[in-house]
């Protein structure tokens, strides 16, 4: 009884980590990715805590489904793609795809990253990840 009470209290005080992560993913959009103009070109970065949490849950179905849904939306497909590249497992050589693991963009004179045909890319990346995630499930 005491342990149950403690658990309930902890959930009330600390929140549910899975629900918190799910909410974070729900609320993210392409502006959640920060593009850095670095020594080795343009690289995307995303909140480190969010990324660490995602890595913990990257094999779970709800997590993958939620990110695939975010890929379908042109307002969030970039964030979902970056999160999937950085959080899912296995070696992946980007040379089999154009751009950054399949994400194509340009940098304008103002230093902003501009994504090429967003709707087409959202559709293509949704297909790419659906197949990749399905293949990694089959390997298990």
């Amino acid at each position: 009884m005491n342990s149950l009470l403690l658990m309930v209290t902890a959930m009330i005080l600390g929140g549910d980590p899975v629900a918190d992560l799910s909410q974070q993913i729900k609320s993210m959009d392409n502006s959640s990715v920060h593009w850095h103009m670095t020594y080795v070109g343009v690289l995307p970065m995303i909140d480190a805590d969010l990324l660490k949490n995602c890595r913990e849950h990257q094999k779970e179905k709800w997590f993958r489904n939620q990110l695939v849904e975010k890929l379908k939306d042109k307002k969030s497909f970039v964030a979902a793609h970056v999160l999937l590249v950085y959080s899912t497992q296995g070696k992946w050589d980007g040379k089999s795809h154009s751009g950054w693991f399949g994400l194509e963009f340009d940098v304008n004179d103002a230093g902003d990253v501009v994504f090429r045909s967003e709707e087409e890319q959202a559709e293509r990346l949704t297909k790419l990840w659906t197949e990749r995630l399905k293949a990694s499930d089959t390997k298990k």
Binding site: M37, Y39, L51, G90
Partner: protein
């Protein structure tokens, strides 16, 4: 590190450094900042912890050449108002003068099994030997983990 850079630099590089010093640019020096991967064009920052991972020599990017790269890039941005692409290209040219090698291209990135990202910069040294400089980056910390020069057969 700037003194090290000046020590064995050819005259062309010394002239460029003097031009930068005379013009006066502002650079924020950080140490292991998660927002900076070697250098940050937009923020005008350089990360000495990342630069320190580069080798002293070896026909590809070095500690000193990365510093020169970032100085030139910021000079082009702050003084000549160059966009990133142009400033980055000028920075690469300066690096080539300093190292005596040709920084040819960058291969598409590789995601490693441990979640790090490897970026390969292809160099050709003064003897015509191709070197793949493998730069491993941790996306959770924005830090350069290692830099390895791999001469190609």
């Amino acid at each position: 590190m700037l003194e090290e850079l000046k020590k064995d630099a050819p005259k062309e590089v010394l002239d460029k450094i003097k031009e930068i010093e005379d013009a006066g640019i502002t650079i924020i020096v950080v140490d292991g900042d998660p927002r900076v991967i070697v250098g940050d064009y937009n923020g005008g920052r350089i990360d000495i912890a990342d630069m320190d991972k580069f080798p002293e020599g070896g026909g590809a990017g070095t500690k000193e050449s990365t510093l020169l790269h970032e100085l030139v890039e910021q000079f082009e941005k702050q003084i000549n108002k160059d966009p990133y692409k142009d400033a980055h290209e000028d920075a690469i040219k300066a690096e080539e003068v300093l190292t005596g090698s040709d920084r040819q291209k960058q291969l598409p990135p590789v995601r490693n099994a441990d979640g790090t990202i490897t970026v390969v910069v292809v160099w050709v040294d003064k003897d015509g030997k191709q070197i793949h400089q493998e730069i491993v980056i941790d996306p959770t910390t924005g830090n350069v983990i290692s830099v390895t020069n791999k001469p190609q057969p």
